[in-house]
Amino acid sequence: MNSAAGSISQVSRAASASARFVLLLLRARAVLVLILLLVLFSALAPEFFTANNLSILTKHVAITALLAIGMTFVVLTGGIDLSVGSIAGLSGMAAGYLLTQGIPFNSVVHYPPVAMVVLISICLCLVVGALNGWLVTRAGVAPFIATLGTLYIARGAALLISNGKTFPDLGGTVRRGSTGFPAFGQSFLLHVPTPVWMMMVIFAIAWVVAEKMPLGRHVYAIGGNQRAARLAGIRVQQVTLTTYLFSSLCAGLVGLIIASQLEAAHPATGESFELNAIAAVVLGGTSLMGGRGSITGSLIGAFVIGVLADGMVMLGISEFWQIVIKGVVIVLAVAVDQLQSRLQARLVPFLAQSDQGVAR
């Protein structure tokens, strides 16, 4: 009897150990894919794994990563934000208008300093974010539709600002006191480009909120079970609104970075960026149903997309094939995600089981 019981618990412990291992592999799959891609491209293109190229790569990634991190909270609540690309375009155009056209006041045109320009542009984006939040929480519009609407509204507004034209020469002049805008996205701090700094800061804030603060836990709770969240005393509407505001803030930063890097604001900036951001979020293992996922995952997802794109360019793969491959990767990622949740459901009893065995 004893030996039989012992062997059973041994078997179940072995099963539990392999269950844990399989789950760990599946959870870390985004990292594994990233490492695989890095190794692959480094082997195929010698100039890929150089400090210079990696710096450029990271700068590209920063754009997608910022949008993806903002998007993650929205997706965790069970929503989606399709308007981020348009908001990025709007923020760039607002900055371009303020820098080149100024604000007419008492029949004198005032040119606000760069800090003010950045602030006003971001505030404009927050207004769109607030509109998203209001539509979703108060008006009861489905997030997909609400943000699809604001996608068009923000894009139209961006086009209206300049009547569809580009604002060039955002360098500003000393006479107007409006120089310094290019530094926003082009300068370096400790040899690291400013957009990468912004990505790191936003990531740090988002990570702390998600992992260490009640607000983050409430976001997960709302995505997991909105009714239960309300009954647990969570202010569902405020929390949801906050996620849309944060997403629009990130999008606003992206628009300013791009305008600053190009020293020009074009109203079509950021078109289809929302799709890249959603792809990064999903690659990072966040469930579009809400409640499950992580900020770190989205960062890694953004890197996977960035590395894939840059690497394929370096290998000289046709642009059309690049698009196809990107699509394949995204679909595979979601398929694996489904596999994970199914496996997880099946493996969790093993975990519980083995603990009972040990306890006995």
Binding site: S12, R217, A221, G223, A228, L231, G291, V348, A352
Partner: protein, 525 residues
């Protein structure tokens, strides 16, 4: 093995020596279960005793590892629910599967639509057969009504009508009354009696002993995957069931009752009114000027039929439903409640009725589920959380091996205790509980009752609703009976009787449980 069953009434179906193993556990261990023709066969057991596994095997959803099924002494093999249906075996699941977006008639024929020889659905024929099936159940309803707009009791009838139309001779009802009010339960019982008369054999699973004693003809008790008792109604008692289910003598459930009549009032509600509304999800009963007062350490039961306004009253107090008029005072101070958050801050906490829908975060761990409402710091203090969680796990006897595992790894009773722990972590003054032991087995129920009494002794005031008269009587110091949004009567514990509660809860025009369904068995005491 071929033991003659002549001493027993005619056996329709026999499951012989059924064994079913799952990784790490044996769900059924050589179970022999006999289903008697034209009788209500009751299957009883605690959560995890193997009832549902056995029913899944009988309805073809799963197949047994060992053992055989005999229908009318012919060996049968059931590989799918379709096979079972072909043999006339149908199941009405605990979680109703009605397609809420389709109408009654469409539901009855979902997946087996009748065609008029062409490609088109023969609606008149479907309707005719639907209304015939519903008439058999003495529950005619509008066939064009969307099922989602029907009360749960009617949806259940629709499901039963579906099985009737399929020509089922054996019907499995898995906890059919867990979501029903007393009046709906009554009408279900009369439907079951009618079915029995028309020659349908019934397997009935429930946790509610008084129902089983009222309705059952043959009793089989499962414990830990084995049959531990088998008998007919005439030979058994409540005691017999409880002892076999739990494997020990029934604990004295009453417990000592402390006198709270001299304690100060904690909560006083004056003239609380709520606007009524119709609709599917948003339907609510209007409340008309309710006055409720609650003493410190008192357990107040709210009793009433479905739609009497019990849930509405609790949810209004918890800030979930906007109040039309009325005044709520907590410890002498008038408070304004406009959201769950403000109610919680004031000290009024609601433990919701439907655990799966309103209580649990299935993606999150036991610890995170428990700590969801307590928020006092800017950052989460993990170490402190673990300490408090472990403390509550010990206090409430929650059987959790690892607090970082998903909440879904716990049994129903333990999940319920986690939700209770979450409420307690808000340090409530008044705890509101809507059906505190719904879907929980007998032992866990007794445990939860003990916990609630202990909490009350420490000064917590509790208001609970229950559709079980037994539970209301066992737990409450005082009972208010609601009827159509008004308080119909109030009883001190010493004045409580089943008849009194029923009479007060029934609206004047509707007949009560008068014409007894089961004259032979009488009313359960």
């Amino acid at each position: 093995m071929s033991r003659a069953t002549t001493s027993m009434p005619d056996v329709l179906l026999e499951a012989r020596n059924i064994t079913k193993r799952y990784p790490g556990s044996v769900a059924l261990d050589g179970v022999t279960f006999r289903v008697h023709r034209n009788q209500v066969n009751v299957l009883i057991g605690e959560n995890g005793a193997g009832k549902s596994t056995l029913m899944r095997i009988l309805s073809g959803v799963e197949s047994a590892d060992e053992g055989e099924l005999f229908l009318d002494d012919q060996r049968i093999v059931l590989d799918s629910p379709r096979d079972a249906a072909a043999h006339g075996i149908a199941i009405v699941h605990q979680e109703l599967l009605a397609l809420t977006n389709l109408n009654v008639s469409e539901n009855i024929f979902a997946g087996r639509e009748l065609c008029d020889g062409t490609f088109f659905i023969d609606r008149p024929k479907q309707d005719a057969r639907s209304s015939f099936a519903l008439q058999q159940l003495r529950k005619p309803m509008d066939l064009r009504c969307e099922t989602g707009r029907l009360p749960i009791g009617c949806r259940q009838i629709v499901e039963i009508a579906r099985t009737l139309d399929q020509g089922s001779k054996m019907l499995i009802l898995d906890e059919p009354t867990s979501a029903l009010s007393a009046s709906e339960t009554e009408s279900l019982f009369s439907a079951i009696v009618d079915l029995k008369r028309s020659g349908v054999t019934i397997i009935y699973i429930s946790h509610r002993l008084h129902e089983l004693l009222h309705l059952g003809d043959q009793f089989t008790v499962l414990r830990s995957g084995r049959v531990v008792g088998e008998s007919s109604r005439t030979e058994i008692s409540r005691q017999w069931i409880v002892e076999r289910m739990s494997g020990r003598a029934e604990a004295a459930s009453a417990g000592e009752r402390t006198d709270v009549s001299t304690n100060s009032a904690v909560l006083s509600v004056r003239g609380l009114s709520l606007a009524g509304s119709a609709g599917d999800e948003a339907a609510q009963t209007a409340l008309h000027g309710l006055n409720v007062s609650l003493r410190k350490g008192e357990i107040l039961g709210l009793y009433g039929l479905l739609g009497a306004g019990r849930t509405e009253l609790l949810e209004a107090l918890a800030g979930l439903r906007p109040i039309a008029s009325g005044e709520i005072a907590l410890r002498g101070k008038t408070i304004r409640i406009d959201s769950v958050h403000t109610a919680m801050k004031a000290g009024i906490v609601l433990m919701p009725e439907e655990r799966q829908r309103d209580g649990l975060f299935p993606d999150l761990s036991i610890r995170e589920n428990m700590m969801m409402s307590s928020r006092s710091t800017l950052f989460l203090a993990r170490g402190e959380e673990i300490g408090r969680v472990n403390q509550l796990i010990a206090d409430l006897h929650i059987a959790a091996r690892d607090i970082e595992l998903p909440i879904t790894t716990l049994s129903g009773g333990n999940q319920q205790k986690v939700v209770l722990a979450r409420c307690l972590l808000c340090s409530p003054v008044v705890l509101l509980m809507d059906e505190p032991t719904r879907g929980v087995d007998v032992n866990a129920k007794a445990e939860i009752h003990d916990i609630l009494r202990a909490l009350a002794r420490r000064g917590l005031s509790i208001v609970f609703t229950s559709s079980e008269i037994e539970e209301t009587r066992a737990l409450a110091d005082r009972v208010l009976v609601l009827c159509q949004g008004r308080i119909a009567a109030g009883f001190e514990h010493s004045e409580l009787t089943d008849e009194g509660l029923f009479a007060a809860a029934s609206p004047p025009v509707v007949s009560s449980m008068a014409n007894s369904l089961h004259p032979a068995s009488g009313h359960p005491a």
